[in-house]
Symmetry: C2
Subunit: 120 residues, 2 copies
DNA sequence: CGCAACATGTAAGTTTTTCTGACATTTACC
DNA sequence: GGTAAATGTCAGAAAAACTTACATGTTGCG
């Protein structure tokens, strides 16, 4: 039973499987790749192949998007440009987010639990 | 990170991924299914979908085949008809196997480590 | 308000993968 | 030599994935 560890790093999952595991559309997954957030490999037939680590990253992105972050935010949070200002960076994004959130929460009926920036 | 436990039982892997993880051909995987040894589900497009448990079962089959067992043996070992004779069953198969092996080992140059019943 | 950027949807055309069914080949065994 | 088991291979059809391009809803801002 070595395949489970392999799956963590081994790129064998096609995009359809990743769609099922993440509840993301192929469009979203490819777009996040175009923005440099995931880097799947390709098989001999030029199809994207993902590892379970990729799936986890996509779940993380999905979570942060659901929290109202923008893709640029997610990218910055994942790749802080300098150690020195990474804290400031994070705090800035979080502050912006809080402001954003409070502004959005002024709207009536914010919905069940997670309401903003959820069109689909 | 709930997808890893899901993968144990959730049928999301297409046959191509299973081929990579098991080093079996699609022909072999489908044949083992036809013999009742694995039971993949089907997606909306009628494509087979496998779980990691299925992958493990296939690896087990592959291992036993490499040991010289026949598919019928594998099937019997997995589904003994009665509790009472399951031991006898196992012993019979193992005895047959030993006889088989010693007979085969009379042939000259048995190959590197595992040599018999390995065509590909 | 209006406009630009962001995120996603959708459609068309092509390539790759998977499907079923049939026939061929190899190997082991009586 | 003949039979059964296991796998290979091929053909035609359906599904999945790819790229490119255009459309749409949403957000932030002057």
């Amino acid at each position: 039973m070595a395949e489970i560890a392999d799956l963590r790093t081994r790129s064998v999952l096609p995009i359809g499987t990743v769609m099922l595991l993440t509840d993301l559309t192929a469009r979203q997954i490819r777009y996040y790749e175009a923005q440099g957030l995931v880097k799947p490999e390709r098989n001999a037939g030029n199809h994207r192949t993902y590892s379970l680590n990729d799936v986890d990253e996509l779940l993380e992105i999905r979570s942060q998007m659901a929290d109202g972050f923008t893709l640029a935010d997610v990218k910055r949070l994942k790749h802080p440009r300098h150690r020195e200002d990474s804290d400031a960076e994070v705090r800035k994004v979080l502050r912006d987010e809080l402001l954003n959130q409070s502004r959005l929460n002024q709207s009536p009926d914010p919905g069940p639990t997670i309401g903003f920036r959820q069109s689909h």
